[in-house]
């Protein structure tokens, strides 16, 4: 006990750290620089639209339409990680909606395009709620199926000319058309940028990296995914509407064309999936290649495009942009960075979360039971976490400790029993709701977001709690300095030591201002210094009235701090009480160390 205290004293409880900002300055310079090529690109496009001949302008508009389509696909498949083989379903939907509105309702083209975008969002809202429950191949092929259903529906719809399609009266000259389409493409690029530098974008990337951890950080994953799906659908529908308006014709085969899907995916892959500039770079490059292919190999086009897909996946899965990234160019800029310098040890508690003042802020699990088939993983366990105290949960492997945490944090539903936080019944609530209402957790095996920086990881949790950007940023900086990771704010998790990764997970949990902190073997693999750091952080949290429940394998890691210990074996509580007494309990020694001690 004494040794531990002296260790904690060596670590100052609150350091005043100024984050290293050299990296930030570099980032800022590039922020300005990346707009120069963009502005030049737009200028060239506009010049071509004004000066170019018919053929060149058609290449330009088709490229711009693909920029819109590719940006949409990049949002749902690149940023959220839900690869779709049916984005063309919304392209076709947009084309048909626009055609209907123009032909049968005599709307002007821009109203029709807007109508197509809105219509696609409505459809995507319904479909997304259903489809996004699927993952991986199921989502990808499910979307493919939707595209086919769309095509079949369009073929059997007589009002739009069935399989023959219908003609759309063209209005406006080609310059107006080209400029409109360029404008929408610019809009799609800017939208991507806005998303990637926002809280929403952060949540999307977190879901892509680890959906479970995102929920644990308080992200409403379902709502965020559906929103991204709707945005992607809206962009695809706009592209479809502009396409139909541009060529003045729509038919099922070309509106739901698989080659459009192939090209869109190829563009994003070649440019760089999940990157800001990937869709633009890919769309321009592949469109140009396509022109050559059309001219010289009209029959072999798909063979060549398909081969490029395979080559990119094999040799450069990150695409062109990520190859450039290796030199530090065009790297994604951290969201809401750099961290502000911490002026003083400002001990301002976050609004609305003064943990200590809740008289019954304790977490109670009441006769929790969880059955998996015939196995009872957690059997009638009661748990009581007091504010301002540390409760240690120990027990041999397979005792049901982690399952108990899943029940408390909403990642699993109890077969019977209740979970209460103060007066509030948490039983059956979604993990992100529980996380936001003050029960934060870490995971047994480290679950960090591989493509988010240290800064963004904590900011994600902090911003799901605080609406205001200023508060979220200040809180994140404070928490990072508390766990000693502020100087590594730009690092990705793979660059951190195992102990630092654990600390980052704890920081992410603390960013939720928990009234109850659930730590699942948080100190496994840590050096003594890092353990001391965690102890200091925990003591600070406890002093502020937080209740801590810690699962540990290594007894000394927690027993010195814990005020109570609860021992699980085969899903049941076999002992509980103050550490010194419980650890001498023969039952516990039996279960934990085996007979014959």
């Amino acid at each position: 006990m004494k040794g531990q205290v002296s260790l904690t004293e060596r670590v100052p409880k609150l350091e005043v750290v100024r984050p290293v900002t050299t990296g930030a300055r570099v980032t800022k310079t590039f922020a300005a620089a990346e707009w120069i090529p963009f502005a030049i690109g737009v200028a060239i496009a506009v010049t071509i639209a004004v000066r170019g001949n018919g053929y060149v302008v058609q290449v330009l508009t088709s490229t711009a339409i693909f920029v819109v389509l590719a940006s949409g696909w990049n949002i749902i498949s690149g940023l959220v990680g839900y690869v779709s083989f049916g984005q063309v379903a919304f392209f076709g939907l947009g084309a048909y909606l626009a055609a209907e509105l123009i032909v049968h309702f005599q709307l002007p083209w821009y109203m029709a395009a807007a109508g197509a975008g809105v219509g696609a969002v409505v459809v995507a809202l319904v479909l997304g709620t259903i489809m996004l429950r699927l993952q991986g191949i199921f989502f990808a092929l499910g979307m493919f199926g939707l595209a086919r259903i769309g095509q079949i529906a369009a073929t059997s719809l007589d009002s739009t000319g069935g399989a023959m399609g219908e003609t759309i009266p063209t209005t406006g000259d080609s310059l107006q058309t080209a400029l409109t389409i360029i404008g929408v493409a610019c809009g799609a690029v800017i939208l991507t940028r806005v998303i990637m530098r926002s809280r929403f974008g952060l949540q999307l990337m977190a879901i892509r990296d680890d959906q479970t951890a995102a929920k644990g950080a308080g992200v409403n994953t379902q709502a965020v995914k559906v929103a991204a799906f709707c945005i992607a659908a809206c962009l695809a529908a706009l592209a479809g509407a502009l396409y139909a308006w541009n060529i003045g014709y729509v038919d099922p085969t070309s509106a739901f064309n698989g080659t459009i899907e192939l090209q869109t995916i190829l563009m994003v892959l070649v440019g760089g999936i999940g990157t800001m500039w990937g869709p633009v770079v890919g769309a321009i490059l592949i469109s140009l290649i396509n022109q050559v292919l059309w001219a010289r190999f009209p029959m072999e086009q798909q063979i060549i495009l398909g081969s490029i897909v395979i080559l990119v996946v094999l040799l450069a899965p990150g695409g062109l942009v990520s190859m450039v990234n290796r030199f530090g160019w065009a790297r994604r800029q951290p969201v809401w960075a750099p961290p502000p310098a911490l002026e003083t040890s400002d001990e301002v508690a976050a609004p609305g979360r003064t943990g200590g003042t809740h008289p019954d802020g304790a977490l109670r699990g009441v006769s929790l039971t969880k059955r998996f088939g015939g196995v009872v993983a957690v059997d009638d366990v009661n748990l009581h976490a007091e504010s301002g105290q540390i409760l240690a949960i120990i027990g041999p492997n397979g005792a049901g400790k982690s399952t108990l945490f899943d029940l408390l944090s909403g990642f699993a539903r109890p077969s019977s029993g209740k979970v209460h936080l103060g007066d509030r019944d948490l039983t059956g609530l979604n993990p992100h709701v529980i996380a936001r209402s003050g029960v934060a957790r870490t995971f047994q095996t480290s679950r960090l977001f591989s493509s988010l920086t240290v800064w963004e990881t904590v900011l994600l949790a902090s911003s799901s709690l605080h609406e205001s950007r200023k508060t979220a940023v200040a809180e994140t900086a404070k928490i990072l300095s508390k766990v000693g990771l502020l100087n590594s704010w730009e690092s990705f998790p793979e660059r951190l030591s195992p102990g630092q990764q654990r600390l980052l997970e704890i920081a992410r949990a603390l960013a939720l201002h928990p009234r109850v902190l659930l730590l699942d073997e948080a100190m496994a693999g840590m050096t003594p210094q890092e353990i001391a750091r965690v102890h200091a952080v925990l003591e600070h949290a406890v002093a502020q009235g937080c209740a801590v429940v810690a699962i540990e394998h290594v007894l000394p890691a927690i027993s010195s701090l814990a005020s109570r210990v609860q021992v699980l074996d085969f899903g049941k509580t076999i002992a509980e009480g103050v550490p010194a007494q419980v650890l001498r309990d023969p039952l516990v020694i039996d279960a934990y160390l085996g007979v014959g001690e």
């Binding site: 990680g81 199921f138 059997s156 192939l262 190829l266 897909v309 996946v313």
Partner: protein, 291 residues
Amino acid sequence: MLHDYALLTITGLLWGGVYLLMAEGLNLIYGVMKVVNLAHGDFIVAGGLLAVTLFSTYQLSPITALPIAGFLLLLVGLAVQTGILERLVGGGSQAEIRTLLATFGLSYIVSNVALLLWGGQVQSIPFLQGAVKVGGLAIPENLLVCSIIAFIVAGSVHFWLTQTISGKTVRATAQSELGAASCGLNIKMIRAVTFALGSAMAGAAGAITIVLIPFQSTSGGDLTVQSFTVIALGGLGDYVGAVLAALLLGLTQSFTSYFLGSNVAAAMVYLLFIVVLIFRPQGLLGRAGRV
């Protein structure tokens, strides 16, 4: 009326056999490698169109064409697995996405090659066009033969997987690659053999089913989804489940196309697919991922 229902049921079940035949290769590959070959349908089409050429040029019957198409696709599958899929980097969900994208590209290559070789028109083979009379019901001979072949193939694959040592090594790999490797099995080779065999089954299935379903070079995507529907409904990699799923799909198809028309029947596969994924993602029997 009763007569109609009896006929619809019988042809539905027989069509189920045909769907099973087309899905079996995909099921084997998924069961062992947890990989979905998106070019599967295009392999079926290639096998079918090859049989058309063999029939029209050399007067070979589809039954003879079946092993030839199977062997050629075996070589294609071997090349794809060792040349592409085995070389993809990354693990976990990233690997899954990369495999999907690679086979997605492959499906376009195969269908475009088919287009260049055989043109874009819909083709079929006039073979066994009579009907067998069973108690007043006329059952098409070719449907009967296809279905019988399907169940023979399903039975022999099941026998191979459960009763022979080589089949057991494949199942061991399916259940735990690490475990199988630590028992001294050559995982890479088993994966290559599995993928090649699955591709061969696709080619063979195409050679015989073209008698029933006219193919064109672009039919592959539909057949991939149809096959995936069967194996997803059966519980990805589950052999018994796939049989039940195929029969269910056959019945659904035969009744919807009779009562609601062929357009609805075509959309039905996708609807069934999406409904299954949402309500029964673990498949009919609910033990996903077992071979």
